[in-house]
Symmetry: C2
Amino acid sequence: MKKVPVLEIFGPTIQGEGMVIGQKTMFIRTAGCDYSCSWCDSAFTWDGSAKDDIRQMTAEEIWSKLIELGDDRFSHVTISGGNPALLANLSELIGLLKEKGKKIAIETQGSKYQEWLKDIDDLTISPKPPSSGMITDFEKLDQIIEKLRNSNQQQSISLKVVVFDTTDLQYAKDVHLRYPSIPFYLQVGNEDIHEAETNKLVQTLLEKYETLIDQVIEDKELNNIRVLPQLHTLVWGNKRGV
Amino acid sequence: MKKVPVLEIFGPTIQGEGMVIGQKTMFIRTAGCDYSCSWCDSAFTWDGSAKDDIRQMTAEEIWSKLIELGDDRFSHVTISGGNPALLANLSELIGLLKEKGKKIAIETQGSKYQEWLKDIDDLTISPKPPSSGMITDFEKLDQIIEKLRNSNQQQSISLKVVVFDTTDLQYAKDVHLRYPSIPFYLQVGNEDIHEAETNKLVQTLLEKYETLIDQVIEDKELNNIRVLPQLHTLVWGNKRGV
Ligand code: SF4
Ligand code: SF4
């Protein structure tokens, strides 16, 4: 039986961002990333700091944990990372979740393809803007999006770009204009991932959100898009596992 | 040329709630409502307090105003009220917006049917819970939903219920279970529609949002739903026309 490296399983809670914002869901966070974004809010998945917490788990073991935590109180599961698309072995879990009638969401930066990506109900591709320090391989991204677009009519795909500054916003625009038919989400970046005072964080984030909205309002190339904050950060601050 | 009573036209801004939360959009607010919800946050559309601001406008006049404000910086228009579904005459505006290639969203409580409801891209039906003081005519709602469901494959329909207390939450659950296949949104009620201090309001609303999430998490009959706050209230407080 195939195993995948898991760092956290938690929920039910709500999805705080992106295309299914607000959705009641369970979370599975896998370990490992091929990127190392400067502002990564889950660096513990790849920087070694939580390596003793990584468990190699089979699909059945993950399912047991989901049931232990969520019982009959969930219908939706979000797989997050790190970059879950590094893990070919996730196919077993995805098959099992579908067999159990659960909807599945995943977020990946779009640097790797897996056949099982076609089976994800709510797929968010989140290329990383310049402030991350990473470089997008657009040819690769083109290929991945092309494959997915031609495969599954039931699937919802969206693009999401996190924005920290005006260079990021220009990058976001380039991504949106490259794939204009794919629903596009702009998200306010959280620069204060170590801020412990939630009230202060909320105020900063809402101000940044307003600034981003203002920029979008002025820009005629950013008409058919959605601009969102991270709701879980507004509610729970920088706390993990909620 | 047919006219409709209009109270406000503003934007571009973002949609703060519901199925297209975050979407960049223009807003048209029509006057008049067949309800009088106790906590209505747009009571000025029906209580006479803004009756001198109501303008009877043709579709062309509304379009001119949209262009004056939004120029080429919008692709989406939200028609809000009051209850826009009272206005058979809106058909002309809806035809014109479609001709111009704009997407249209509308919110109505589901008490009245209009043929043009079929042409709305993002249709939110928002029945009002007991705390509003209103009584839902479920037979009427059944009929409306039945008609819409059989008409337009392109259309996205959602249900949204605003929740102020546990009686409202039970009502929301009844609505969700009555129409389980329609995407369902729970929204935190804003009791402080006259609170002028935005920071205080934000804190109260986020606490209420967390409480509502906690209730949803515990409830196995509320699995496949989405729980959202009103983003515009978090960003702009109780200010009108933003
Ligand atoms: S791609 Fe995601 S998980 Fe990987 S480093 Fe960047 S932000 Fe972190
Ligand atoms: S239905 Fe909407 S506009 Fe009408 S009274 Fe109720 S909240 Fe206000």
